[in-house]
């Protein structure tokens, strides 16, 4: 790979953080980030409040129940511009001929987007605060759910980043990432699993997809407070593989 060189860990981290800061500031330099942050906050909080008043239980189950589909839609809105914009505006040549490794640019953009996922998560903090005032929620359960929020968000970010590297058109990137996200989420939905198992009785396609591919069972475990090693490996290995694939795509685009 062009650009393969040695670099000290400190220099690597410094360069990555400089890319991340620029990316985060570029995101908030346009009104789009504010619009979808507010939209996410309104949607997520109102869905929870509706369920909360219907059931009256002091937990965040209804919030985390709807979260995977919300993230599958909102995360691509964060990622669609990451590489597509760089390629369309031709700034990618400027960025990747600075003395940094492609991995620093990829990780910098990933970290900046993860920061935005953190902002989205923070917009829901009024919910646990309200629950703590009204009763005695299981804070461990809530913390585990937020861990799932960040891990699922990072997986969908990696999917979106790859989609963004594959196209110069942000809309195409958005649609591709949304499809990828929904596939990862819905393949674990019991109704989808039942339908797929029904159409392929010998293969048990739905069950196999849910067990080996889907993010939903792992996320649901975390939302229930169950932190399995397999879930952590899944949420670290799959994004890492997707980011590595992104680097290959960028390298292919270059040559």
């Amino acid at each position: 790979m062009t650009g393969t060189n040695k670099m000290s860990p400190g220099t690597f981290v410094d360069g990555t953080l400089v890319v991340a800061r620029r990316e985060l500031s570029a995101t908030f330099d346009t009104p789009i980030a504010y619009v979808y942050t507010i939209a996410f906050a309104l949607l997520a909080n109102s869905i929870f409040m509706n369920e909360f008043f219907l059931t009256g239980t002091v937990d965040m189950g209804s919030f985390f129940g709807v979260l995977p589909l919300l993230l599958a839609f909102f995360v691509p809105a964060i990622t669609m511009r990451l590489w597509a914009e760089e390629r369309k505006q031709r700034t990618i040549e400027f960025l990747l001929t600075l003395p940094i490794l492609p991995a620093q640019a990829i990780l910098g953009k990933f970290l900046a987007s993860l920061g935005l996922i953190g902002v989205l998560a923070a917009t829901s903090f009024p919910i646990p605060i309200m629950l703590a005032v009204l009763g005695e929620p299981d804070l461990g359960l809530i913390a585990s759910g937020y861990l799932g929020f960040v891990l699922l968000g990072s997986l969908l970010l990696a999917v979106g980043m790859l989609a963004s590297a594959l196209s110069t058109d942000q809309i195409v990137s958005f649609v591709a990432a949304t499809l990828g996200g929904f596939l990862l989420v819905l393949s674990g939905d019991p109704r989808v699993v039942a339908v797929l198992d029904g159409v392929s009785p010998g293969l048990a396609l739905g069950t196999n997809l849910a067990d080996s591919f889907s993010a939903l069972p792992h996320f649901e475990d975390l939302a229930r407070g169950v932190i399995e090693l397999s879930a952590l490996i899944y949420f670290i290995a799959l994004p890492a593989a997707l980011l590595w694939t992104t680097s290959l795509v960028l390298e292919r685009n270059r040559s």
């Binding site: 062009t2 650009g3 060189n5 360069g15 500031s25 570029a26 003395p99 940094i100 270059r254």
Partner: protein, 249 residues
């Protein structure tokens, strides 16, 4: 400072650059001339480490572009064709970003940004977004970014593209001032610009290097033939076109 040996670039079956070789030393400013699509930008992209050569060897300040890309990038300032910049960023923040990416630290950052802003006359636009700046300012912002780390080698790809004639003259004067200690490779398809600034011309067409000749020699040829400098330079391309026509016939 720049050594290109048999550099070749293929895009599928198309040969964009065909076994080109030349060297450029410190203090030299060399014009890179050729029609649109001749292979100028492809070659500059290879020297800048953006494109890997299909074959051949390119070194910048002694570093190989393929195996020591980071060292090459540290040694050179590159103003790519189209000079794409981050439109939504403010000029001062953009320069700060580039300085940090270049590894500058602490007071060095302020010192070098102040120098680049002064040298490229950007004082009036430092607080503006790049998208609000005129084409002339944008070229100078790109050049300021390329100069921030005081590189030994400068690659300028069509740097006067989009500038009005007065801006182009001012820009070329500025480039000439920069050449004292640097190796500068300056590409253009505007003949008068290249001959005005450069000491030596590289002429490329259909990916092949047709000439690596001092401007003084072209002036001598023009004087001997009673023609213009432009004619003397264009004769090289015309001869190649005739030879190609003959070869294809």
């Amino acid at each position: 400072m720049i050594r290109v040996e048999q550099a070749t670039k293929h895009y599928g079956a198309t040969v964009a650059v065909d076994a080109v070789s030349f060297t450029i030393g410190a203090g030299e400013i060399v014009g890179f001339l050729g029609p649109n699509g001749a292979g100028k930008s492809t070659l500059l992209k290879m020297v800048s480490t953006w494109l890997p050569p299909t074959s051949g060897k390119i070194t910048v300040a002694g570093h190989d572009v393929e195996t020591e890309a980071l060292a090459v990038r540290r040694s050179l300032g590159y103003l790519p064709e189209h000079n794409a910049l981050y439109e939504v960023m403010r000029v001062d923040r953009f320069l700060h970003f580039v300085a940090r990416m270049r590894g500058l630290q602490g007071a060095q950052i302020t010192e070098r940004i102040d120098w680049a802003v002064g040298t490229c006359a950007l004082e009036a636009v430092t607080g503006k977004r790049i998208s609000e700046c005129s084409k002339g300012y944008r070229q100078r912002i790109g050049l300021a970014a390329a100069l921030l780390h005081d590189p030994a080698v400068l690659l300028l790809d069509e740097p006067t593209h989009g500038l009005d004639p007065l801006q182009a003259v001012a820009f070329l004067d500025f480039v000439r001032e920069l050449s004292a200690e640097r190796a500068i490779l300056f590409s253009s398809h505007v003949l008068s610009e290249v001959t005005a600034v450069s000491e030596r011309l590289l002429i490329i067409n259909h990916g092949r290097l047709l000439a690596d000749t001092p401007v003084a020699e072209f002036k001598q040829r023009a004087s001997d033939s009673g023609g213009t400098l432009d004619d003397a330079v264009l004769d090289v391309v015309r001869s190649d076109a005739r030879a190609r026509g003959g070869a294809s016939a």
